[in-house]
Every structure is written in C-alpha cells, then in structure tokens.
C-alpha cells in the first residue's frame, strides 16, 4: 500500500454501497490482527478405547485333534527348521497366544480366511452372530460397527478392496454424490492448505443490508453460526436427565455446535450455555426470559401461533419443531408466513414420516416449497431423524437441509445399547456401559463428530464444493440410482417402465 493511501477510508476503495468508515491503515491493522489470531477450525480427536467389549466380527473354531496331528506331523517333517514348525497361517496374531491355535484369539481375526483355506480340515471361521444381532432394520450392525470405530479412532475409516454391498438400495442408498473431474483447489483443504468451510448459519439471512445515514447497520440480522452442519438432538426420554445431557452439552461446546435439551434438564442441571438450546413447550414459552448464561437460541416444541407471537420479537433465536406428520407442509407454510426463521423437521429414527415416506423426499419438498415461495434464505431448515452414517449427512444437506440432527449415533458412540422401541422418537431404552465417565464419553462424541466432519470434507472435496452452505439443495449434484438406471437400461427388455 502506498503511504498516500493511509488517510483514505475503506469505502473510497470500493464502488459498492457498503460504508465501513475506517481509515485504510486501521482497517489493515485489524485485518492483520485477525489473521494473526486466526486458527483453522478443527476438532481434537484422540484414540479412545472401548469401555465394553464390542462384538467381534468373526468366530474362529479350531479342531484340537486336527491341530495336534498337524503339529506332530510337521515337527518331524521339518525337524530343525523351527521357523517352519512355528509358522502360523495368520499375520494378525489369532494363533499367536501362549498355546497357539489350541486357544485362538478370535478378537484379532479380520476374516482373511487364510487359516481356513490352508487347513479346512480343522479350522472354521464364521461370522459372529452376536454382531449381526445388534441394531435394528435401519441402524444396522454395520452402521453400529462403523460408528464404534469412528468414535474410537476419530478418523475416516479407510480400507482396501472395493465396495462390497448392494448396487443401490432404499433410503439414502439411492443417491450417489457427484464428483468433479478436473476442477478445484478445494481438495487441498483436506490436506491442509486451503479451507473447506463447514460452518452454517442458523436464522433468517437478510436479503439486503440497510444502513443509517452514518453508515451504521440497521436491523442487524438475527442469526448465528455453528462450525459444523450438524446439531445434537435430544437424547431419548429415558436418559433426558442426568449425565447424558451433561456430556452432550460439553461436547457441543467443544465442537461449537448446539445440543437441544428439555428445558427442565437445562434448568435443573444448570446447563445453560451458548451451545445449549432449551426446548420449551408452547404453554411455557414465557420461560424464555429465564434462560441466561449466554443462551443464544431456544426451541418451541410444537407450532402454536399465540405462543410464537409472544417470542417472535425476542432477541434470542427461536426455532420451532415440526414433526413430519399429517399435513406438515401446510403447517410449515403457516410458520413461514408468520416469520418463523428456523424450522426443525422431525422424523422417526428410521427417517420416516407418519405415512412411511422417507426424509429424502420430504426434505426436498420442504426445500423446494420455500424456493417456490421465494423465501428459502430467510428460513433455516434443520432435519432430525434417520441419520445412521456419515454419508447421510451430506445427502440430507443436498436434499435441502441447512443442518442435520444427530440422535442415536451419539449414544452408539458412547457404547450405549438401545433397547425396546428404537424407531419411535425418544422411546428407546438406553443401557450404558458399566464403566462410564463423562470425560471418556465426551471424547467419543468428539471423535465421532471429527470423523463425520472429515468424511463430509471428503464428499465436498470430491464435488469441488468449498463450503457446505453451497451444498444445500444442490440436487443437481446428486445422482439418483433409479433415474440413472432408467436412462441406462430403459431400452432393455424387461426393465420396469422401460420402452419394452
């Protein structure tokens, strides 16, 4: 900058209408200060071992007589060649205990099957039925295994070989996300050179800024940012008080996201903080005044116009829950007409509305209805329910959500077992590990959050999208298995709905 520029104001250097009256030198100093204090957002993950044994993947059975025969034979056949005598068909240590294969260690088995292929006469490796039995039809044992690994390590699960599952599938599996072949520096973000933003704004984004004659901002927008596009949804009723809310509140504060908790829990356990959102019934909405300690937002647990009118102008942000039940769309439009700026769509834990429709369709309907109405940026949509894996996060955002609520996966991360009705919201029983403490549990949630954020970065990087806010509603970057199949196979005899 030239010395003669030092007395100019920053608006002199712009041709727009923004009038920030700061001398350029002062502005430059502030910019430098900001740069000096800038720290790239990240979540501190740390390997955190399981507190209770997770079901192993495989069982290994070894026939003792067969093994004894083999050892006896090999001892004489390879006498003196001890490396051969003591060699074992496993590089993972399954047969490396004090008595070798006589007491195998199946916890170490990865299912390479070398032992069984080499010694079919006395070794058998089988899938562990105890692992298959965990979870339900939606949050499957595979999801739970993956979440357990993510919560333990805090990293992106990486493996060899290709995809092993179904071609497409129901629910989130029907979508493939796009990638960009040559463009973008954004991939560098994952390796640390350039930022891919994962922060999202909650609240009503003003369509224009208004300033007074002195350049001061009029009608400051009522909104806030969180660093990740996911929030922590309230835990099931059976653990909505006690240690679990405290863990979620601490983790939310560390991650800089929000946790939604029943108002009583927040009050009774003294959890009020900028990262805790008390959930208040419409009849008690007057309690909004009692939540201090930096509280930024409250949630009204159902739509009620009278209650809303009481808090509409309140300085705190107010979100309103909207279960995906009945004629939810009309209710949503009524809410929008009454200037509700944060709508929290709620489905059951399988991601279904009361009519059985899946959230991906409903999220799109909500998103496009607001676009049709011309107010999409004035409303924040949060979707909670049906998130069982890291890929569900970007897919929910692509279908129109600004942010997504995590529920049961948080409990799985804490090695909780879900009991009873795991589909109805809030109904599941929760059995926590016997050795359980807050520090351990918070770190497990941080790890899961870190892993899922990093996996979100992978998806964003592949797509060439540099901030998650731009992913919202990017249906054009989604590929639907059904559509692609119709395009590819439509002219093939027998294809349902095809030309033949």
């Amino acid at each position: 900058m030239l010395a003669t520029d030092l007395n100019r104001t920053s608006d002199d250097m712009m041709d727009g209408s923004v009038t920030i009256q700061l001398p350029v030198a002062e502005q430059a100093r502030l910019n430098r200060e900001r740069a000096d204090t800038y720290h790239r957002y990240h979540i501190d993950a740390a390997e955190t071992e399981n507190r209770q044994k997770f079901p192993r993947r495989f069982n290994v059975k070894v026939g003792k007589i067969g093994l004894a025969k083999l050892l006896f034979t090999e001892f004489f056949k390879y006498f003196g060649h001890w490396d051969v005598v003591f060699s074992r068909p496993c590089t993972y240590g399954v047969f490396s205990g004090p008595v070798g294969g006589f007491s195998p260690r199946p916890d170490l088995c990865v299912g390479c099957l070398r032992c069984e292929v080499q010694h079919p006469e006395f070794v058998k490796v089988t899938h562990n039925p105890d692992l298959a039995a965990i979870g339900d039809s939606y949050l499957t044992s595979k999801h739970i295994s993956t979440i357990d690994e993510e919560a333990r390590k805090g990293t992106v699960p990486v493996r060899g070989q290709g995809y092993r599952g179904r071609f497409g599938g129901p629910g989130f599996d029907q979508m493939f996300t796009d990638m960009s072949e040559i463009v973008r520096p954004s991939r560098d973000g994952i390796h640390g050179r350039e930022l891919i933003g994962t922060s999202v704004d909650l609240g009503s984004k003003p369509m224009s800024l208004k300033f007074d004659s002195n350049g001061g901002l009029l009608d400051a927008p009522k909104m806030m940012s969180i660093q990740v596009p996911f929030i922590y949804a309230p835990p099931p009723d059976s653990v909505s008080t006690g240690i679990i809310p405290e863990i979620l509140a601490e983790a939310a504060g560390t991650v800089d996201t929000l946790v939604f908790l029943p108002e009583n829990t927040v009050t009774n356990q003294g959890l009020a903080s900028p990262n805790v959102v008390p959930m208040i019934a419409p009849g008690q909405i007057g309690n909004i005044e009692s939540h201090g300690n930096g509280t930024r937002m409250v949630e009204m647990t159902s739509w009620n116009l009278d209650a809303w009118n009481q808090v509409k102008e309140h300085p705190l942000l107010v979100s309103v829950q909207l279960p995906l039940e009945g004629d939810w769309m009309s209710t949503m439009m009524e809410m929008v007409d009454n200037d509700v700026s944060i709508i929290h769509l709620i489905s059951d834990h399988h991601g279904e509305a009361d009519d059985g429709r899946f959230i991906m369709d409903l999220y799109q309907e909500a998103h496009f209805s607001l676009i049709e109405k011309g107010c999409r940026d004035e409303v924040t949509l949060i979707g909670t329910g049906g998130i069982a894996g890291a890929d569900h996060l970007p897919k929910s955002i692509i279908t129109g959500m600004d942010a997504v609520g995590l529920d049961h996966p948080l409990l799985i991360a804490m090695q909780a077992r879900l009991l009873g009705d795991t589909k109805t919201r809030g109904a599941a029983g929760v059995k926590l590990p016997s050795k359980f403490d807050q520090e351990w549990a918070v770190q497990r949630i941080l790890n899961l959050s870190c892993s899922w954020r990093d996996q979100l970065l992978e998806i964003l990087g592949a797509m060439g999208v540099r901030e998650v806010r731009r992913l919202r509603g990017e249906i054009g970057r989604a590929m639907w298995c059904g559509h692609l199949e119709a395009e590819a196979f439509g002219d093939i005899e027998g294809f349902p709905g095809g030309e033949h």
């Binding site: 993972y92 390479c112 070989q161 290709g162 599952g165 592949a462 797509m463 005899e493």
Partner: protein
C-alpha cells in the same frame, strides 16, 4: 519405523505354497470334502464367484458347480442377462469367434495396437502390490498379447522385459514417472481419478511405503504418500491437451489413455478427453477396487460403471465421434459375463483389476491397506512385506492368470456364439441382446 521381516526360508516357502495352493484347490473343486468357507464373499463378489475364479485359475475352464457369472448385488450387471438365440440358430461350438480389440481408432500416426482379448490389466502400483504380482500380471499380459498398467508407483526394472505390454501410468502425484518408462510404453495412461475414491486422490499408507517402494517413488521410507487430487496443472480440456502434448515430446508414438471416474457429466468428460487427443477413454466406475480408500467414497461418490457406459456411448454417437475412440470400462467388472455386458452396453473393452487378484488367491478381506498387522495382504498380493510378498511367485501367478484368462476368453466366445455373433465388435452397444431381470429371478 515399520519392522522389516526376514525373507522366508526355502522350507517355509515350500510349506506355505503347498498349503495355500492346495487350499485354493480344496475350496474350489466339487470333489473335495469341504464346503465354501462360510465367511467368504459379499454381495458383489459372492463366495461362488471367488471360488469359481480359483477354479478357473487352476483349470482354465469354467466350473459347472458354481455360479461364475453373476453376484448378488441386486443391480447393474447382476440384473442383466443375455437373450441367447435358440440352439439351432447359435454358432457352432467350433465356429471361429474373433475377440481381438483394436485400440487406436483415431487414424493418426501413433502406435497401432490390437490386443488378443478385449480386456487388459488395470493399474496397481508398486507399493500397493509387490513386484512379484506386477510381474505375474505383466508376464501374463505378454503371453496373451494384451496389456497391464503400472499404476502410480514407478516402473520396477524387471517390468522392462515385458515393456511392450506395460502401460505407464501418470497420475496426480507423479510418483515414479521417468522419461525412460514413458519412452518404453506403448500406451501412457493419465489417471485423473479412480472409481473407488473419485475426486480424492491416492493414499499409500506409511507401513507399505518401505525402502524399495520409497526409492522407486522418490520419497522417504515409511512415510504416508498422498497422490493429491486433481492434477493441479489441469483446469480445462486445453490444459489436459497440454499434458498429452508433453508426453508426445517424450514418446511421439505412444497412444494416450485417459482414466476418469464417473461423475454426473461423465459423457462430457469423455468427449473432452477425446478432443484433447485421447485414443482410449477409460471409465472407472464407483464400485472399483483399491488398495486403500475411505469407506464413504466407495459406495457414495460417482456412479457405477454399468450406468456410465451407455451414457458415454450414446453421447459419443450423437457427437459423431464414437468410432474414433476406444471406450474401456472398469470398476466392478468381475467376470466374462460382466465384460460381455459392458460391451453390449456400449464399451469396446474392459479393464480387470480385482479379478486378477482373486484368481491369485484374494479373498477380498479388505486389509490391502495394511490391516491391523500393518504388513498388508496375508496372501502376499497387496503387500511389499519382505516375507509375505514371497507367497506369490511370478511363475505361479502368471500361470494362474493365464489359465484364468483362458477360461474368461472361452466363456466370452461362448456368449458370442450363443448370440450368433462372430466378432466382439458386433456386440458393442447391442442392448437389444440384453434382458433385464426384474424381481428376484
């Protein structure tokens, strides 16, 4: 630093080879006392597909007792079947069927190459696999007058004896790229993306980047190597063309292959690649193999190859350039039936990767990246561990692949005869010869 294991003694080699080879036999043949391992296989590569590959690799024939044609993924190739002609209209069993594939269709002055079978071996780098595995594939490619690709990890000196059958790959990390290996290759493959991790680049974990691997790649031993995505010099078709021109100055006769993934606009990418000068557009679908990839990428990013092929084929036809370029499909092509289906959907040929490894004993346990042991594949395939890599010997591997390819070629010819076709080229784009298996047939 990772532990260097001692090379196995001759006696240990003898024992391990005997047990492994006998094991593959025991599990693949119907006359033995043992069932298929209960934990073997998955929806895409079923236990029967894996065992049938072992059977083919030992006998050179397709098994009667196993389903060697399709998996159970419930879509794509697994939902397609051929409309065989009535027996009396099929070609005679001894009728000549031409399955050769001409790769250079641009009519330019570059290398002309016809391979004897409509597939070749996909890129697997030195580091992700051992020299023994690379050489097994290269020797087999030489025998079959086809090709295999180096992947991005350099060109081990042993490969030069097969150099006319080795594609040199140039990828985003430029690992091991040398003038000499570019000059030796009949085809240079630019890898823009890989189906299993599209848009994410490559990653060789530290435990697999040992002394020799690091030397080949010009890196530090036992340090993780990232091959970042994308090419940072390429932001347009014109930039891509500069890449190809750069290769041309080093090797004026080499054909150019461009390996891309399957995004939404894969058709446009393919056309752009052609106009930049590619002879081969290599489409790598989302379900392809890898030595290491984020699990989230494998299923979710980019489309399966079955859905990309017709899109590209039809668009290139519309553009009037289809006959000037060779489309090669990979990423989930497992069997001879898959190869034929890919061609019927519009490809000219295919690339096999995982199938080669399965033929040599892979059980798809997914520990290629190192696994909990950090040593890599316990079968000696995707590892450079001093001991483990000896489980696969070059002659044995090449022989397995030779027999496996014999069975694939035989089955491919059988399919063509059943369709009344005498040339593989006649199958291209013939979706009218396919039928979709609705429901659970």
């Amino acid at each position: 630093m990772a532990k260097e294991w001692p090379k196995p003694s001759p006696k240990l080699l003898e024992k391990t080879h005997h047990l492994m080879h006998d094991g593959f036999h025991q599990r693949a043949f119907p006359d033995t006392a043992y069932d298929l391992p209960e934990a073997l296989g998955d929806a895409r590569w079923t236990d029967e597909l894996i065992a049938s590959a072992w059977y083919m690799a030992e006998t050179g024939e397709c098994p009667d007792h196993l389903n060697y044609k399709t998996g159970r993924s419930g879509g794509g190739f697994d939902k397609l079947a051929f409309k065989e002609l009535p027996t009396d209209q099929q070609l005679a069993a001894d009728a000549e069927v031409d399955i050769t594939l001409e790769l250079n269709r641009r009519g330019d002055d570059r290398h002309k190459r016809t391979i004897d079978i409509p597939w070749y071996g996909g890129g697997m780098s030195y580091g992700s696999v051992s020299v023994n595995v690379m050489m097994s594939r290269a020797l087999n490619a030489k025998k079959w007058n086809t090709l295999m690709s180096t992947g991005e990890g350099g060109y081990p000196p042993q490969l030069y004896e097969c150099s006319d059958h080795v594609i040199t790959q140039v990828a985003t990390g430029y690992f091991g790229v040398e003038e000499k290996s570019i000059q030796a290759a009949p085809i240079i493959e630019f890898k823009y993306a890989q189906g299993a991790k599209p848009g994410l680049g490559g990653h060789l974990l530290a435990t697999k980047a040992g002394e020799e691997v690091a030397k080949m790649r010009g890196s530090v031993p036992f340090v993780s190597l990232f091959s970042p995505f994308p090419f940072h010099s390429t932001y347009s078709v014109e930039d891509h063309m500069k890449h190809l021109d750069w290769i041309k100055t080093v090797n004026p006769t080499a054909m150019m292959s461009v390996k891309v993934s399957t995004p939404h606009d894969v058709d446009m990418v393919a056309v752009g690649s052609y106009y930049a000068g590619a002879h081969i557009v290599h489409l790598d679908g989302g379900f392809g193999g890898t030595g290491a990839a984020p699990e989230i990428a494998k299923k979710n990013i980019a489309m399966p190859i079955e859905l990309a092929i017709p899109k590209v084929h039809k668009f290139m036809q519309t553009e009037g350039i289809r006959d000037n370029v060779t489309i090669i499909a990979s990423g989930g092509v497992r069997t001879a039936d898959d190869i034929a289906k890919a061609i019927a959907l519009g490809a000219d040929g295919c690339v096999l990767g995982t199938s080669d490894l399965v033929a040599m004993g892979c059980t798809r346990c997914s520990n290629c990246e190192g696994g909990p042991s950090g040593r890599g594949c316990p079968w000696g395939l995707t590892t450079t561990d001093t001991e483990l890599q000896e489980w696969v010997q070059q002659a044995w591997g090449a022989d397995r692949l030779d027999k496996y390819y014999t069975a694939l070629a035989s089955r491919l010819r059988e399919i063509l005869r059943e369709l009344g076709l005498s040339n593989i080229g006649e199958l291209r784009g013939r979706t009218d010869l396919l039928r979709y298996i609705a429901g659970g047939e």
